[in-house]
């Protein structure tokens, strides 16, 4: 049964034991993740790209939802930390044969992994696994339903800090399908925790949560209004299946209203950066001229993703080791 109202991500000393959501983490901890990632980000430029931090450790990717890209960056991050990696793509195997998630978990636990990286289509799945995992196992959320995708949010924060330095004066606009986006939820929490001046969400009512304001954002329906004087523009992916559910009339109208072009970007600050968590639909969320343009930092996001994931993995493993393998 779920434990109530308690932050299971932290141990008694306030150190990170799981990384499930940004919610409940304080600014110091987020900054520590970014600082740790900073050191790892220097690695790709060096002849030996690995550090021995997690040598002999087993990290298991538990992907109940397909994602080659995210899984690969986690795998690369684990390998740069010298850990051994097991990959399980479970969407097509066990659970479809009637095995419960808990049974799957117990089976994989028997392989003595120290860390699970979990992706699942249901909100709360990473919490559930963290609550039920053996005491010495850390859980990192690689995306659960519409709930959270905290490592993606932290790599976005890392990218923003690289370009802007201080978070406090920033105005950030998040544009598109916030309703279905775990990335947006985690970004909003991270930006507010790091103390930005304003977070805006921009989109039609069908793609914004009914109680969006409770996330600590200003709601805009007009892109030009929403982009005015912002320092950072984050475009969200619009999944093709959204066209089927009467959420939007057409891709074309969406692009007309919310697609980012260089012209529309003019109302933002001159040095505004443009981000996208990928994979991107060119001509739907964003014109190619912007995606490939000078303001775009989309490809940097991808490479920073490895450093941030290394940081989170090593911090969680450190907490585990400090506790003598038991948390």
């Amino acid at each position: 049964m779920a434990s109530r109202h308690q932050n299971i991500q932290l141990n008694d000393q306030g150190q990170l034991r799981h990384f499930l959501t940004i919610e409940g983490l304080h600014r110091g901890l987020l900054t520590q993740i970014l600082d740790t990632a900073e050191a790892f980000a220097a690695l790709p430029g060096r002849p030996i790209k690995k550090v021995p931090a997690l040598r002999g450790r087993i990290i298991t990717n538990l992907f109940f939802e397909n994602s080659t890209r995210t899984r690969t960056t986690f795998e690369l991050a684990a390998k740069r930390l010298s850990a051994d990696v097991l990959n399980f793509n479970i969407s097509t195997s066990a659970t479809s044969k009637g095995e419960t998630l808990l049974d799957t978990l117990r089976n994989i636990e028997a392989m003595h992994s120290e860390m699970f990286v979990v992706r699942h289509s249901q909100s709360g799945a990473a919490h559930f696994i963290a609550q039920h995992a053996a005491p010495g196992v850390s859980v990192i959320n690689a995306g659960d339903g519409r709930h959270a995708h905290p490592t993606q949010a932290m790599l976005d924060m890392f990218t923003i800090r690289k370009h802007k330095g201080d978070f406090t004066p920033l105005r950030v606009a998040i544009v598109g399908d916030v309703l279905h986006s775990r990335v947006a939820r985690s970004q909003i929490l991270a930006l507010n925790t790091l103390g930005v001046t304003e977070v805006r969400v921009v989109g039609p009512s069908t793609l914004l949560p009914t109680e969006a304001r409770c996330l600590g954002v200003h709601v805009f329906h007009d892109l030009d209004e929403g982009l005015r004087d912002v320092d950072v523009v984050i475009m969200l992916r619009l999944q093709k299946e959204r066209m089927d559910g009467a959420l939007l009339p057409s891709e074309d109208e969406y692009f007309q209203l919310y697609g980012l072009t260089s012209e529309r970007l003019e109302v933002a600050k001159d040095d505004a950066i443009v981000m996208h968590p990928g994979p991107m639909n060119r001509g739907v969320e964003m014109a190619s001229e912007v995606a490939d343009g000078p303001r775009s930092v989309i490809l940097q996001q991808v490479s920073y993703g490895i450093a941030v994931r290394m940081a989170v993995m090593s911090m969680c493993m450190q907490t585990r080791d400090d506790a003598g393998g038991e948390m």
Partner: protein
């Protein structure tokens, strides 16, 4: 066998009694109230000093799981749980396997419950065949077999035309139809209230409008057909307001609310607590308060358990993948009395909502202490506190968010048909 229950405070809302009175039982029925009649000799005396003696509770909606889902509960386990909760009359829902859509299943349940003799099990039979929402059930035959209402459980009807026909046909036989108002399109696969918590946790939401749209539709059809309808388990302030207005315009419409809806809100889902996964979902504080108000002013005349026992696995998964429902028989009285503690109702009105309130809605003779009527009695301590331990529940389902809650009103004795079926 004769029994006298002495020294208790007798509360019988149906007869507006609230005073220190003894109660005497002869065989299966109540023999007299007050002084023992001349020549009455009690074989057994129950001393109810410091306790309240009231009619055994009547529960409008309990999923008893048998036949078909005996891993979740059986008639034996759940009627024993009812006895512990002071409940002597249960109206079971038709969503069993096989569905209660034929006289055979009704008779099977009646016979089995009679044999168990822990509580009276009455049946709300299926409104449509196999609860599939399209073909009407054989209502006349079901009525003859003894069902007390018709219900499509939580399954939707195919369309408004089927609903119209079902209400018309049911009204031919003057049968009450239970409706669980929910527009399945607006429900859209949600699992929690579409509000602040759903937004933060990224859980698919069910808007309040999913209920109010259905209430509006059902009221329009009730008005059109003249059928007697009863809304099961309302959850929103808007529904309560619409119900009040409909009653003011003399529509024959009633409603109940699940006891947990009067105490929990969407915020209790925090931390993905699957024990709070219920249908209809827990809504806002404003909704909860409006429901409480509707209970207080009698717009909602019945509080029910909406009992849904589950095996542990049903709740052991990521929140959206868990089954909805709370095992509620053993907390129905406690949650109702909590409203008295919180100053919303006086004790007599609170008891009415779980005794004569529901009984009157279905014209049942139960939930009252009349001489000659069945001796269904609940005795509970009003003033001492007790703590719920989910592990110790009698129900097969230990799925409750009220584990470790402190309550008043611990049941000490339950008598059903003059027989002691539970004693603490």
């Amino acid at each position: 066998m004769t029994i006298s229950i002495i020294n208790g405070r007798l509360i019988d809302p149906a007869n507006q009694i609230d005073e220190a009175l003894d109660l005497h039982i002869d065989g299966t029925s109540i023999f007299a109230i007050g002084k023992a009649p001349e020549g009455f000799h009690a074989d057994e005396i129950i001393d109810a000093s410091g306790s309240i003696v009231c009619p055994g509770l009547v529960d409008m909606a309990a999923n008893l799981r048998e036949p078909g889902f005996t891993a979740k509960g059986t008639l034996a386990s759940e009627t024993a749980a009812a006895a512990k909760g002071g409940i002597t009359t249960l109206i079971c829902t038709p969503n069993t396997d096989p569905v209660i859509d034929s006289p055979t299943v009704i008779e099977w349940i009646h016979r089995k419950a009679r044999k168990l003799a822990q509580a009276r099990v009455l049946v709300a039979a299926a409104l449509t065949q196999n609860l599939e929402g399209s073909q009407l059930a054989e209502m006349s035959a079901l009525k003859k077999a003894g069902c007390v209402a018709l219900s499509n459980s939580d399954q939707p009807l195919a369309n408004t035309l089927v609903e119209r026909r079902a209400l018309e046909y049911a009204s031919t036989f003057e049968m009450t139809v239970f409706l669980r108002p929910e527009d399945r399109h607006l429900h859209a696969g949600g699992c929690v209230h579409e509000g602040a918590t759903a937004t933060r946790l990224g859980l698919p939401g069910i808007p309040s409008a999913a209920e109010s749209v259905a209430v509006a539709r059902d009221l329009a059809l009730a008005e059109h057909t003249g059928a007697q309808i009863h809304f099961r388990s309302l959850s929103t302030a808007t529904s309560a307001r619409m119900l009040r207005e409909a009653q003011a315009s003399k529509l024959p419409v009633s409603a109940d609310v699940a006891a947990h809806q009067l105490h929990l809100t969407e915020m209790d889902v925090e931390g993905f607590d699957s024990r709070c996964h219920v249908s209809p979902p827990l809504r806002t504080l404003a909704d909860r308060d409006a429901l409480r108000q509707a209970v207080a002013d009698g717009t909602i005349a019945a509080i029910c358990s909406d009992h849904q026992p589950h095996e542990p696995d049903a709740k052991d998964a990521p929140f959206p993948g868990t089954e909805a429902g709370i095992s509620g028989l053993e907390t129905l009285l406690a949650l109702t009395l909590k409203l008295v503690d919180e100053g919303l109702l006086d004790l007599s009105d609170a008891i009415a909502r779980v005794t004569c309130g529901p009984a009157d809605l279905l014209n049942l003779p139960h939930g009252r202490l009349n001489a000659g009527s069945a001796a269904d009695i609940c005795i509970f301590k009003a003033d001492s506190y007790w703590t719920l331990d989910a592990e110790q529940m009698v129900s097969e389902g230990h799925n409750t968010p009220f584990d470790n809650w402190e309550f008043t009103g611990q049941v000490t004795h339950t008598l059903f048909n003059g027989k002691l079926v539970y004693q603490a």
